[in-house]
Amino acid sequence: MTAPSFGQGGLDLARMRRDRRRMLVDAMAANSLDALVLLGQNNVGYATGARAPVADAARAGARRMVAIVTPDDTALFTSFPDGVPPELSDEQVLDSLPLESDIGARALVDALPEGKLGFDELTMPLRAALDGREALDAAVVLSAAKTVKTPDEIECIRRAQAINEEAMLAVEGMLAPGVYATALTGCFLRRVFELGATSNTVEPIFQVMPRRIADGPYSATGDLVFPTVTKHEPVGEGDVIWVDTGIDYHGYKSDFGRTWVVGGQVDERRRDQFRRWRGVVDRVLEVVKPGATAADLTRAAGEVDGRRPWLAHLYLAHGTGTDSAEMPLIGTDLGSDFDEGVVLVPGMVTVFEPVIWDDGHAGYRSEEIVAVTDDGYTMLSNHHYAPYE
């Protein structure tokens, strides 16, 4: 087992937690909120540094940690003492509350401070226990803080990505006609834990693509269907496979996307698809710098063969951090006015995922992650493009 190489950046988790809290408190002040009440596990983790084991949503929700964040104090309700960061005092850490029950919900409401409260979500017993007290949406505050990453956060994403990419070398090694797509998932999951991932948080996708959209599963939009759940079926010689995976490292998500061809035979048309994809990425990266808008990026991507070169129901690019798809969202159905208002600043991390599709001949999709720097960007992804190059 070799450890992936992590580049130059050091990682100071205590500093990262301090910086995040400061950014969150600043964002609260800017939005006139006196306290945040956080139930989402990614949000509690972001605000406090506390960790809970990763589980299916129902289990994670039933055992959820809750945080109350004010400018001067943090209260963390948790049943996972191993995951409490050292800077929290015994007074700040309390037993978890069952927020699916009226008793637990009332206990949390009793602990809430005065003033304007922002919530990321509510259980229905919690909503009832608030008894009409105003609950504002915390999404704007969370997004404002999370969108700009500190160097430590960027280093976490870089490491998550490095583990993800290293694990893919093992998966690529077993790709052959007759191998079950789900076996690729198994190999990937085994390897990411061996390599030091905190968890896997998105079901790995190894989707065999149809040649034509009409051959594929039914599409509600008429556009290409992706992603779908990995099938328990063998892959065949010449199958085009779109790969999409994301793992977790100290709360930060990787995002790996590639196109593979089973057997490795790439004809000239396929090679050309890759070149066109590369062209989109190159054009877009050329304009990535502070001050550029999301609309600048979608314009740079342009149209390829009469269509915008990404999946219409998704995006040209999305942010990644403690959520696998977060702000900035670029090229979504929120529209061009929205894109005009999204301005890149240093510390944003964006995942570009253009798509080239030749109906009748499948297509090419891969992903690249960059962090916006003071004068441009730095790559966080670093993986080969075999068998296309």
């Binding site: 139930l39 989402g40 596990q41 990614n42 084991p53 990763v54 589980a55 299916d56 949503a57 129902a58 289990r59 994670a60 929700g61 039933a62 959820r64 996972f80 003492p81 191993d82 995951g83 699916e100 990321d120 979500e121 509510l122 229905m124 009832a128 609950a135 504002l136 949406d137 999404a139 079950y180 789900t182 076996a183 998932t185 198994g186 999951l189 085994r190 390897r191 990411v192 061996e194 030091g196 968890s199 896997n200 948080t201 998105v202 079901e203 790995p204 599963p217 039914y218 599409s219 509600a220 939009t221 992603p227 779908t228 759940v229 328990h232 696998s324 969202l329 979504t332 159905d333 929120l334």
Partner: protein, 327 residues
């Protein structure tokens, strides 16, 4: 819905959506804030689902009842609010909410009250049909075999975290790509309860607890065992005798009529319902026939647990992974 007078049920929790639709959508770990991923309309009985495709969607949900993803929350709600039979809905059950969606929903359905859809779902999901039990039994078989793979792979020098990967890899060999939770593999140590697997290296003679579960076709089963790395040390033998005695007493109480709280009070016990995911049980809930629970007991340093079907007069283990043989 009739009983609770709910006109529209909006479900954001994937387990609830899986239960009412049978759909197998892409799995994401951890909690998600409420978004309308699934809707049930009382007037028509129709289930509407957020999905751009019918891949993984049962055929009894026709394409016109699928609505595509949107980054605009208004666009996400519009097809649901506009679905046949929704206009004029007075009581809307939701299984969670965000302030934004509350504002949008009450704006788009003027006069509607939001009511607790989660407790409705909980009451409906508890009782399992024969087909549900078969699906959980199939999940249990996968969990058992993946547990066996972990036990096989346990040897000096292996780290706890490596065995999480071993569990997942074997699970995937059965075509199941979603664990119910990250397997918790933990070397037994005085005074410590492992809450997740670490990079600790397992030594010869260590006792190792393993708790793991799978979601197979959307149905959950979990199992817990304790195994020694290498030969069982003589000083550990009596621990098993103590555990078995406590476990047998516990399982004896797992029968219809027993309040959940009574079983939880019996020791270091974890007890919850399982079905189309983890199901919350309150202390004053009472075990009933045809319910399925996951029961774990940690006692004398040993952790063990099963997925249990509560029968008319007791319970039947659905998981059957072998235990260590204690001479």
């Amino acid at each position: 819905m009739q009983e609770r007078d709910v006109d529209l049920l909006l479900l954001g929790r994937e387990g609830n959506a899986r239960y009412v639709s049978g759909a197998r959508r892409l799995w994401l770990g951890g909690t998600r804030a409420f978004a309308p991923g699934c809707a049930v309309v009382r007037a028509t009985g129709a289930v509407h689902l957020l999905s751009v495709t019918d891949d993984g969607i049962p055929s009894d949900i026709p394409p016109e009842q699928l609505y595509p993803i949107s980054w605009n929350p208004m666009n996400l709600l519009a097809p649901v609010v506009g679905a046949p039979g929704v206009a004029g809905a007075r009581r809307v059950g939701v299984d969670g909410i965000t302030p934004l969606f509350e504002q949008l929903l009450t704006g788009m359905l003027p006069g509607a009250d939001l009511v607790d859809g989660e407790s409705l779902m909980r009451s409906v999901r508890r009782q399992k049909s024969a087909a549900d039990v078969e699906a959980i039994r199939a999940a249990a078989a996968v969990a058992d075999d993946a547990m066996a793979a972990v036990v096989d792979a346990m040897r000096p020098g292996v780290r706890e975290i490596d065995l999480v990967g071993v569990f997942d890899e074997r699970m995937a060999a059965h075509g199941v790509t979603t664990p119910a939770y990250d397997a918790i593999v933990s070397v037994v140590e005085e005074g410590a309860v492992g809450q997740w697997s670490t990079d600790r290296v397992i030594d010869d003679g260590d006792l190792v607890t393993i708790s793991a579960g799978v979601l197979a076709d959307g149905w959950e089963a979990s199992v817990a065992r304790t195994w020694p790395c290498g030969e069982l040390r003589s000083e550990h033998r009596s621990s098993w005798a103590q555990w078995w005695s406590a476990w047998n007493a516990l399982v004896d109480r797992a029968r219809p009529g027993t309040p959940v709280g009574e079983i939880r009070d019996a020791g270091e016990v974890d007890l919850h319902g399982v079905g189309a995911s983890y199901e919350v049980l309150a202390d004053d809930d009472v075990l009933e026939p045809d319910t399925v629970v996951a029961l774990e007991l940690r006692h004398a340093g040993i952790l063990g647990g099963e997925t249990l079907l509560v029968t008319a007069d007791g319970c039947e283990p659905l998981t059957r992974a072998p235990h260590v043989a204690v001479p």
